[in-house]
């Protein structure tokens, strides 16, 4: 059973088509059953068998679960089994000894009794023989009758001495003839032939001397008695005619059997009691240990759930009490540390808030003064006028930097709160796009919106989503080199997505993750046209995380980039995938072009909606590491590596030609908004988004 996985099954069945569904050989089936199914949890082969297995396993599962989880049950069951074994062993030894003792005594008594009897029978025969020798004139017939009656009399006289303690039986010696009245006789209605075992008769025939054996006394039907165990001792004796016959003493063992069964019964009862009591004792003892352990487990769980004031009850000074004390000390220290950290965090937040206030008031004055000077710059000499301009510009930058820093520190302190309500993302996108129009006009870029035919509604914080999208769109326009920017909306399953695609410089390998780092610059050497703070995408990423959503980037050098925001449709739903593939359909790879933009041989690759491997993947992306925030949350993809969050950067070398391809899906171009023209300061959003 090495190839136990489901993938191996088709090959096997193909290779061995004769493998029957319902094979007759039950043994091999059970072998497979145990080997593959019950033990390893999966079975290959016929579906019927698998079904049967599942059917058998199902009722066992809770029991096995209980067994695995319950140490008390384990100990009690083990104790029961082991004590049962010990009791059984002891029982067999004791019973064997008692039986031997009982039988030894009985056998000795019986042997002496039988020896006496044999001697008496011999003596009587000799007496009669001497008598007839004196007479001398008796005929054979008469004597035959005499022997017959003599034997009857012998049997009754011998047995009468035992007063029921034994029976006497005579049987003819098989070597001699059966004539002459030396036939079967038995005292007390014993069936002579049935009561004496054949083997014993043969041994007595073949040798002189007494032999013994165990047997059962069988009574004649007239006696109305059940057969009973007995010890039989027999010997070949001569009758008065000097012919041999067999004389048996049968000693019933009823008394001994009764004693033995009494002992057996007593032992069984005692054993049962011992086993049950041992089980109960084990249960009680284990409970003494397990109860505090369980209590500790429960309290540890409550501690981890945040109820830090929980403590164990400690009584006595034993090991359990030590456990409790150590546990409580741990909880105490934990609580202390957490409290310290909380205080620290609160102080930090307070500090940030205070700094914010203290910084902002003078900044407001400076800002207003700068504006007044700026307004009046036409009256100044050129140097002073330029200085006034620089002052005003840099104050803007300083202000947005301060705002972004405060926003980031709010995220870091965990003070950012989501105010989610159902919003239509199309409206947000339209607002963002109309806000970015002035900048786009200056750059000669057209911003198109695709996929806004139907409402795209999600539970989200409109302010934050707008901030994220404004950031993405302004970035796309800025880095789009005057080419079009496409904003695509889609919803599918439990997720909605907005992707912002540009055809500008794109991203180099590895940059798709680094763009979200704080203060990261794509190209330090490149002149910055608009002042950004370098925190915009970091804030956008935090905003996406706050929603339980994803913000991911893809790009190829010279081929543009795509930033995709995926949000769950309802706030508490984990994301499983995004309706828009991270790598756009018109990427070079998807169009089957090689790095130089020339057609590649035959590999047509359709961009599919990436099914993000969910499961272990934390949707909220709990990692707060700003450097590689989304790599940690990414599971290894099987099909499409671009579906990987944070692995969007394709390793595509710079192309020889800057050829630009347009096969975007048709979309409505947003008409330039009248109002947008008045948004005079949209140019300074840059990479940054301004937190309020």
């Amino acid at each position: 059973m090495t190839g136990d996985s489901a993938a191996a099954a088709p090959g096997r069945t193909g290779a061995r088509p004769e493998r029957p569904v319902g094979r007759k050989s039950a043994g091999s089936r059970w072998g497979r059953f145990l080997e593959g199914g019950l033990l390893q949890g999966g079975v290959q082969g016929s579906p019927v068998l698998r079904l049967l297995l599942r059917w058998v396993r199902r009722p066992l599962l809770p029991v096995m679960r209980l067994w695995r989880r319950n140490i008390q049950l384990k100990v009690v069951v083990t104790t029961l089994l082991m004590s049962l074994g010990v009791v059984l062993l002891l029982g067999f030894v004791v019973i064997g000894q008692v039986r031997n003792g009982l039988l030894d005594a009985k056998v000795k008594a019986s042997q002496s009794q039988a020896t006496g009897g044999f001697a008496a029978a011999k003596q009587r025969a000799e007496e009669v023989a001497a008598g007839t020798a004196d007479d001398g004139s008796t005929t054979d017939e008469r004597f035959h009758q005499n022997v017959s009656s003599w034997m009857t009399e012998l049997v009754s006289s011998l047995s009468s001495g035992g007063q029921g303690a034994f029976e006497v039986v005579t049987l003819p010696a098989s070597a001699g003839s059966d004539s002459g009245g030396r036939g079967r006789r038995g005292s007390g209605l014993v069936d002579p032939t049935a009561s004496v075992p054949e083997a014993l008769r043969e041994r007595i025939d073949s040798a002189t001397g007494a032999f013994q054996s165990y047997t059962r006394i069988v009574y004649l039907s007239a006696a109305h008695k059940d057969s009973q165990p007995a010890l039989v001792i027999g010997k070949q004796v001569n009758d008065p005619n000097d012919d041999p016959y067999q004389l048996y003493y049968l000693f019933p063992l009823t008394q001994e059997e009764k004693s033995l069964s009494l002992v057996k019964g007593t032992l069984a009862t005692a054993g049962l009691f011992v086993v049950v009591l041992l089980g109960a004792i084990a249960w009680l003892v284990v409970r003494q240990v397990v109860t505090p352990v369980r209590m500790a487990a429960g309290i540890a769980e409550r501690l981890s759930a945040g109820r830090l004031q929980e403590r164990m009850k400690v009584t006595g000074e034993d090991d359990i009490a030590r456990l409790g004390e150590a546990f409580n000390k741990m909880a105490q220290n934990l609580q202390l540390k957490i409290q310290q950290l909380e205080d620290l965090s609160r102080m930090q937040r307070r500090f940030v808030s205070d700094v914010s206030h203290e910084l902002r008031t003078p900044l407001t004055t400076v800002r207003m003064a700068a504006d007044v000077i700026h307004e009046a710059r036409e009256d100044f000499d050129p140097v002073t006028a330029r200085s006034a301009e620089l002052l005003a510009d840099q104050l803007d930058r300083f202000e947005s930097l301060l705002a972004d820093l405060l926003e980031i520190s709010r995220f870091d302190a965990g003070a950012a709160a989501l105010e989610a309500e159902p919003i239509d993302l199309r409206e947000v996108v339209r607002r963002v796009v109309s806000g970015a129009e002035p900048l786009a006009d200056r750059k000669g870029t057209e911003i198109r919106i695709v996929g806004d035919q139907q409402p795209i509604v999600a539970e989200a914080d409109a302010r934050r989503v707008e901030r994220v999208l404004r950031n993405l769109v302004v970035n796309a326009v800025e880095h789009g080199e005057g080419r079009d920017v496409v904003v695509k909306l889609a919803s599918a399953g439990g997720a909605v997505a907005v992707a912002v695609r540009d055809y500008g410089v794109g991203l180099k390998p590895g940059e798709a993750t680094r763009v979200f780092s704080r203060f990261w610059r794509a190209d330090p050497a490149r002149a910055r046209t608009t002042g950004g703070t370098g925190l915009g995408l970091s804030i956008a990423l935090e905003d996406a995380r706050l929603h339980g959503g994803w913000l991911q980037a893809w790009g190829e050098p010279g081929g543009g980039s795509q930033f995709r925001l995926t949000l769950p449709r309802t706030a508490d739903e984990p994301l499983r995938g995004s309706p828009i593939p991270l790598e756009p359909k018109d990427s070079r790879r998807n169009r089957g072009l090689n790095d130089a933009g020339l057609p590649r041989g035959g590999s047509e690759k359709a961009a599919t909606v990436p099914a993000q491997p969910g499961g272990d993947q934390a949707p909220a992306m709990p990692s707060r590491d700003p450097i590689a925030p989304r790599l940690g949350s990414a599971a290894v993809p099987k099909a499409d590596p671009t579906a990987l969050p944070g692995n969007g950067a394709r390793v595509v070398p710079r192309p020889a030609s800057g050829a630009r391809h347009h096969d975007d899906p048709p979309g409505e171009a947003e008409p330039p908004s009248e109002e947008a023209g008045q948004n005079e300061d949209s140019s300074r959003h840059g990479e940054a988004s301004r937190g309020r």
């Binding site: 808030s353 902002r360 003078p362 407001t364 004055t365 800002r367 003064a369």
Partner: protein
């Protein structure tokens, strides 16, 4: 436009530099600023100067801005614009609930400030005599009064504007953004909490049962509309 160029503005701020700068900017725009630096003296100064608008810093020595706001609102419907360094939810919402009409976050630009002040001072020039009905209320737009069964209800100018905006188009559902533009004069998306808080304040004055509003009805997921007349 000259009609509201003249406006008395009371600046309540303890930062003398900022107050002076505000004075420069306001005078430059044709307003008449007066100043008070202490929260305890703010109410007396308000009564004395009878301003058309109050600029109020939230952090003040003595009485804090929230308290001053509440006191002024208790005796006047004059527009109050808060100056705040903290845009955190609680501060702003508390300020709005205590009666401020609008707020502006430091650091702000002079133009921004002046636009906010003007939006608050703007009254529709010579309003045409107009009677509106919303629910069982009768609104006299020119006379700036709201009456239920002949009993007039005192509203601040902002609350009045909000009610009139809703009553003029009773068939229309107003999103918060549209209301922000029409009533507050924000051209671009602003804080929708402004709308939420003031709708609550308005309801507490005009609704018979603010828990079950009939005048200003919430349309879930969209915004607000006027109740049926």
């Amino acid at each position: 436009m000259m009609s509201f160029m003249k406006g008395r503005v009371l600046v309540v701020d303890d930062d003398t530099a900022l107050a002076e700068m505000l004075g420069i900017v306001l005078r430059g725009e044709g307003f008449e600023p007066s100043f008070v630096a202490d929260g305890d003296k703010a109410l007396a100064a308000f009564r004395e100067t009878k301003p058309d608008l109050v600029l109020l810093d939230l952090m003040l020595p003595g009485r804090d801005g929230i308290e001053v706001c509440r006191l002024i609102r208790a005796e006047s419907g004059v527009p109050i614009v808060m100056l705040t360094a903290k845009s955190d939810t609680v501060d702003v919402v508390v300020g709005l609930e205590s009666g401020a009409d609008d707020y502006i976050v430091k650091p702000f630009k002079p133009k921004e400030l002046v636009a906010r002040i003007r939006a608050r001072l703007r009254r529709s020039e010579e309003p045409a005599p107009e009677q509106l009905a919303i629910g069982d209320l009768v609104i006299d737009v020119a006379g700036h009064s709201v009456k239920r069964d002949g009993q007039s209800i005192a509203l601040t100018p902002l609350e009045f504007d909000l009610l009139v905006a809703l009553a003029r188009k009773p068939w229309q559902v107003f999103t918060r953004e549209v209301l922000l533009e029409q009533v507050w004069g924000y051209r671009h998306a602003a804080d929708t909490r402004l709308v939420n808080v003031h709708v609550q304040r308005l309801r507490s004055k005009v609704e018979k049962d603010p828990e079950r509003p009939e005048i200003v009805v919430t349309v879930r997921g969209v915004g607000y509309k006027a109740g049926p007349s």
